[in-house]
Amino acid sequence: MMAGERNPASCHLDERTFRLCCQLFLQHSETIQDGWSWEQIKGTDEGFIKKTVLIPVKASVLHKQHECSMQDENTVTDDIQANVEDETAGVQAVCEIHAVLRYEYHILYSCSYQIPVLYFRASTLDGRPLALEEVWSNVHPNYRQRLQQGPWDTLTQQEHPLLGQPFFMLHPCRTEEFMKPALDLAQAENKRVNYIVTWLSVVGPVVGLDVPLSYSTEVSAPD
């Protein structure tokens, strides 16, 4: 290895460090009431962190076939915006009906890849799970092209390895691409990072998960 070349293995994370990073992450979440919590697997020292959020989306995002049922089952909020500001040429009012979706995010540790993995599931308020196509339309357009490049499509439906239920997962084999530049930079500046904070700040926004900036400044790296 050349002098100054970082061991590529440091893109990885051992399970103990994962748990420590999560603990520190959770402490800050508690402080800013960001809603994350630790789920312990009964009888083991394994676990994951999770968070549930309600996200308003445009009704057009949901499958046409479900639009009728959506209205029937009262997932439409009272918040109907009508754009009546444009008075110029007698423009018709445009109504945007907002629906509310429930997103549940889980961060698990993968012992095979030795990195964290993001799982999530989405449903309407009445419990109807969203299909992959519907979830796709909630992915920011900037990320869509990159995710679609394959070879193994990066956003797929998978069985949650601890709960056994269908979730969506961001494929872990691309993690090194995201993390390497960030970890390289930190090393060059002689800083130690909290792996979870750095990692989640990169992958979270791809699937609509907001990670407030204070995590980057307030959460320390484990010793």
């Binding site: 109807r128 070879p151 390895p161 239920q165 269908p166």
Partner: protein
């Protein structure tokens, strides 16, 4: 001696209608026995489905190493004949009320749920009320391919830090999938043998890719890092794995056996080295799928 024992068991396994002539206790024969293992199944349409007339059950020999949605086109065609298009959604299967996870190899599902029941395996076919909270969707074969390749990739991450799979070209990956899809043992193993190699000085893979399944558990499976050789250089066995992850499956000599530890429908000797099991009894996805089931009470 161990490989001989496994080979005998595989050949005489009642759920394997494929009868093999035992010539030599060659490890390569074990690979063939595993690949060509079959389970006789009887598919019956659920009474909850709406039909225009009664449907006859459909009998099929299922490959243990494949996936339900990959090998049941004929089942679908058969039952569609008695149904109206508007009553047909994504086909799914259940056994005694339990939805069958198509993304588990067929042999694993059978060993886990039905190995101690009479053959044929009675599977119920459904076309509506897809259990969204239990099963993954399978809209096309490319989803099965993606899942299969994802398992192979994960197995190689454990065995070789992904070096071997990443050194392969796209066409090599395709060959692995096509080999499985078209039941081409030689085509598959021409590529797969690379994934079974390791540096001689290491004595085995970095970690063994395995999953342990159990019906009476909230967890779908157990998976941990496990080295085939101990730090002192001892070759670790199936018994060593169970001692660490499922000690209840190991009982003293005078105790009645409480659990059966099953791989491809057989119970390998606990003295079998994990490295040997990984090289010879893995599924095409390169994982050792181990089912732990309650021992039948006679």
């Amino acid at each position: 001696m161990t490989s001989l024992g496994v080979k005998d068991e595989l050949s005489s396994n009642a759920s394997c209608r494929h009868l093999m002539n035992m010539i030599m206790a060659d490890d390569k024969d074990v690979l063939r026995d595993v690949w060509f293992g079959k389970i006789p199944a009887c598919f019956t349409l659920s009474p909850e489905e709406t039909t225009e007339r009664e449907a006859e059950p459909y009998y099929l020999l299922l490959p243990r190493v494949s996936y339900l949605t990959l090998v049941t086109d004929k089942v679908k065609k058969h039952f569609l004949k008695v149904m109206k298009a508007e009553d047909v959604e994504e086909m799914w299967f259940e056994y005694e009320g339990t939805p069958l996870k198509w993304h588990y190899p067929i042999g694993v599902l059978f060993d886990l749920l039905a190995s101690n029941t009479a053959l044929p395996w009675n599977v119920t076919v459904r076309f509506k009320n897809f259990p969204e909270h239990d099963l993954l969707h399978c809209p096309s074969n490319s989803v099965i391919e993606a899942h299969f390749m994802s398992c192979i990739k994960e197995a190689d991450a454990l065995k070789h830090k992904s070096q071997v799979i990443n050194d392969m070209q796209k066409k090599d990956h395709k060959q692995l999938w096509m080999g499985l899809q078209n039941d081409k043992f030689d085509q598959f193993w021409a590529m797969n043998r690379k994934l079974m190699e390791y540096p001689t000085e290491e004595g085995g893979f970095r970690y063994i890719p395995f999953r342990i399944y159990q019906t009476m558990s909230d967890r779908p499976f157990l998976q941990k890092l496990f080295r085939p050789v101990s730090p002192e250089g001892h070759v670790l066995t199936l018994g060593d794995l169970l001692k660490e992850l499922f000690p209840a499956a190991i009982c003293a000599e005078d105790e009645p056996k409480r659990f059966q530890v099953m791989i491809h429908g057989i119970e390998p000797l606990l003295e079998t080295p994990m490295q040997w099991l990984s090289e010879h009894l893995s599924h095409p996805d390169n994982f050792l799928h181990i089912s732990i089931i309650p021992a039948p009470s006679d």
